[in-house]
Symmetry: C2
Subunit: 403 residues, 2 copies
């Protein structure tokens, strides 16, 4: 019997789940701060909605199956095609439609380090707006999020896909790998792709490397400065930035933090040809996708996120059967004061077992209410980190625990 | 081309999604207040983990499919069997393990009013504790949640499955329907099931109806009173309450609100034989499941939940191209003050179009920053509900919008 999740799928026990909730909450708050509203789409879509939208290679990675009624269904592969479906289905939505979406997506690929078959995407998109202010807002909210999360060296690199206009798709994706594999390998690959000499390949690469920001990029930079964002510190031009996805049509960007070497924390850009696919229209759009797992990993590496195995602040022990009522009453008061309080549930267990439980669970405080304490009208509060214990009155207790 | 979600699946546009987020947030906060921590399990499980755990009828409702590697996978059917799997897999978890879980579950059944193929369950469970204090805590947190959400007449009905000990399963589920179908129908059904006379069937039903609370129930009631909960007002004995699910082994309960006629808002009980299935042990457990969609429906019917089509408080318009910078700067200040602010993105659009957009989207305030206002160092704030507009200084603006 396999008592584990399928390969590539994960359980999140309290410590991890609390962190995920922390990050999701931050993202939601800041997305809404910038005027984005939430959208949720179902986990399953009709297969025909998903297939053929991401390219042949991707189609193989979509979980597709037939339900009992013979309908072909697929698991959410990303949040962009569902967004396109929603925009087609509800044509009355006020435009620009600014939505955020934070849901699981599924990829039937071979799991490897940092790659899973189910993972969260956190996307913001502005649909129906061609003005460059859309890019500016997307970049501004993204930088705000990194700052609020505590990232100190996150910069957004910016380029325009139009800078690659006359280049082969394969050459573009070779150049995109410049940082990962180094200049030599990129030149080698261009040589192979174009069947040209090394010098000719070098020339192509150098031509890209020497590009100057075009007018669109300069306009965008000037907008960003109005948001109190600083060139070089917050954002920078990067002529070799290509972003893998075929569907970008204009400005593209990618967030990287100097203190984290595990890769980009997210990216996005303008893609004016995808959202209209179900309408056979062109609908301008611009978006940013945060790498949710990457953000968690980076935030943990840099000690930016709380690491708690429980959100409980205090365990109210039960001294003996005769003190059950007293303990319930104190727990009830603490909860009324918005203090996360666990009541020990088994009055048969000895006090030291109860303390061990709190310690194992990672609850910072333990409260003891025995005969003496009740007589004196106090409680004994033990700080499990320092081992210190003190007798305090109820009011004082509340103050300590509310800190 | 089907540009819609599959039958039985739903999109949640901003208004609904905001409400769902509101409810989820409340549930999480209060679950944690009572010492429950979050758990997440994957959307997919190995089919063998799911099949045979819910009974034959249920097995037909589980979405099962084969992935490309030939492994049989199933979509999450509920959160209890995954909990049992987690408890078996991570045997080191401190016990009692008190977790909450708020995720989508999937049922391949025919959709009908109020029934969907994907819906959220919000569960709390205490695993590894046989003390009656577990039931008391579960009932206390549930009642607290209904009260905090604004439900005024929610009562939890309580019974003990042991009260049905010598009865046929089919008879139990006939009696469970008493409120839905009426006494006559129940008697008719018992007549059929047992092949007995009407009087004999009536006698069986009356025997149940006349049961008095047993010792366990009385003990539980005395505990609940310690939580400042009132018998009859907050909780009550109901001898005919049976709860459909086979797996309950002791105390069972169900929440009903007198002001809402659409059915129970949730229910649960003790089930000591399910969590250990993967270990072939018996592990005591007790839980409560909130009907998430039902809660939303009831809360809306009773006007308890916010109804907003956007979380945005104010739209900062752009008077003309020359005022883009001014508008960005004001938007940035408002956002720094934690005010949800949308910036209009297209300076080419006339002001009345921008106001119409705000109105259609449901944004309560619009801010206008033209030549005159800049000269006077004020902004014009328009309340779209009342139509009133006023000139205010930035500090005053922040105060109004922070309300």
């Amino acid at each position: 019997m396999l008592i584990q999740p399928p390969k590539g799928f994960r359980d999140f026990l309290p410590e991890k789940s609390l962190q995920r909730n922390f990050l999701i909450e931050k993202l939601k708050t800041l997305f809404e701060r910038f005027g984005f509203d939430p959208l949720e789409t179902p986990t399953l879509e009709y297969a025909e909605v998903l297939l053929g939208k991401y390219g042949e290679e991707a189609d193989k990675l979509i979980y597709i199956f037939e339900d009992r009624g013979g309908r072909k269904l697929g698991l959410r592969y990303d949040q962009t095609v569902p967004l396109a479906r929603v925009v087609s289905q509800y044509q009355n939505l006020p435009k620009p439609f600014k939505r955020y979406q934070i849901q699981s997506v599924f990829r039937a690929e071979n799991p490897q380090k940092g790659r899973f078959r189910e993972f969260i995407q956190a996307d913001i998109d502005i649909v129906g707006e061609e003005s460059l202010l859309a890019e500016a807002e997307i970049i501004a909210v993204s930088l705000k999020i990194f700052k609020e999360l505590g990232f100190k060296k996150t910069k957004i690199f910016i380029n325009d896909r139009k800078n690659f206009e006359n280049l082969d798709k394969k050459v573009i994706s070779a150049i995109d790998k410049l940082e990962k594999v180094g200049e030599e390998k990129v030149i080698e690959e261009i040589v192979k792709i174009k069947a040209i000499s090394c010098d000719e390949a070098k020339a192509i690469l150098n031509q890209i490397k020497n590009k100057k920001p075009n007018e669109t990029i300069l306009k965008l930079f000037s907008l960003l400065k109005t948001y109190d964002l600083k060139e070089e510190e917050d954002f920078a031009f990067k002529p070799t930035l290509a972003r893998g996805l075929d569907y970008y049509t204009g400005i593209i960007f990618e967030a990287v933090d100097d203190n984290y070497k595990g890769g980009s924390l997210g990216g996005g850009g303008r893609y004016d040809n995808l959202i209209g696919i179900f309408l056979e229209n062109s609908i301008p759009a611009c978006g940013f996708a945060f790498g949710f797992d990457r953000l968690l990993e980076a935030g943990n590496e840099l000690n930016l996120f709380p690491k708690k195995s429980t959100s409980t602040k205090v365990l109210v022990t039960i001294f003996s059967k005769d003190f059950i009522e007293k303990s319930i009453k104190v727990a009830t008061v603490l909860r009324e004061k918005n203090i996360n309080t666990e009541l020990f549930l088994n009055p048969e267990k000895k006090l030291d077992k109860q303390l061990k439980y709190a310690d194992k669970k990672g609850i910072p405080y333990v409260l003891i209410l025995g005969e003496e304490e009740v007589k004196k009208n106090v409680v004994k509060l033990k700080d499990l980190k320092t081992g210190k214990q003190q007798e305090v009155a109820l009011e004082q207790l509340i103050k300590i625990l509310q800190l």
